[in-house]
Symmetry: C2
Subunit: 102 residues, 2 copies
DNA sequence: GCTTACCGTAAGCAATGGCTTACGAAATGA
DNA sequence: TCATTTCGTAAGCCATTGCTTACGGTAAGC
């Protein structure tokens, strides 16, 4: 019941870039902004969305805030995909059976 | 290099509903529109986006066009997630190692 | 041939979203 | 105490987007 926000969070290219950078290794906000063609506040806003979706978490370290990815959430996303996949498989089997009856 | 479109395609709730209905079983456009609170042209437009992302395919049957999900693309999406997951795992192991050195 | 059912596309509109600049808050170091 | 660094949020702007209505086009049934 939460992949709903994850998809819209990961829909934006810049936000996906942020997320992939965090998957490589946890970073502070300025560290991410330095490697992207957008301003630092923009990165903050993206991190807010990712955080609301539960995809990242924060840890304070001095004046810096270190963001890192939340691996468990990726697991949820994958489960949704797996569910769809088996649904589609079932529908395919049904169709094949109907075809066989003829 | 194609999950880029998939995420934005699946970001919209209505479009996800369409996609999940198609995963259950292939349907014509009017069959989908009948079960959603949006107009038929809206469904057509959503199917266009899903089609551009490669997530669904069409087959003509009389005047009807039967849409069904493309399972292989879901596989691609899952691979992207798996890639991120192992990246995050690697980063975690690295951090643990740095911590152990102290 | 004519009607009917099914569908895609164009045009237009209201809402959402991503970006920037500007500002204020909190922790560090001199 | 004061300056610096790092960061989040507010306001505003422009582009994108999801929806509707209106239209044209194709296949089936009488």
């Amino acid at each position: 019941m939460a992949y709903e926000m994850m998809f819209s969070a990961l829909a934006d290219p810049t936000r996906r870039a942020v997320f992939e950078m965090l998957a490589d290794n946890p970073s502070p906000v300025c560290g991410i902004a330095a490697r992207l063609p957008v301003s630092r506040p923009a990165v903050s806003q993206h991190l807010r969305v990712l955080s609301d979706a539960g995809l990242v978490s924060v840890r304070a370290e001095g004046t810096r805030r270190i963001y890192s990815v939340e691996r468990d959430r990726l697991e949820e996303l994958r489960r949704w995909i797996d569910g769809l996949w088996s649904d589609a498989l079932g529908a395919f089997a049904e169709a094949a059976e109907r075809e066989a009856k003829k």
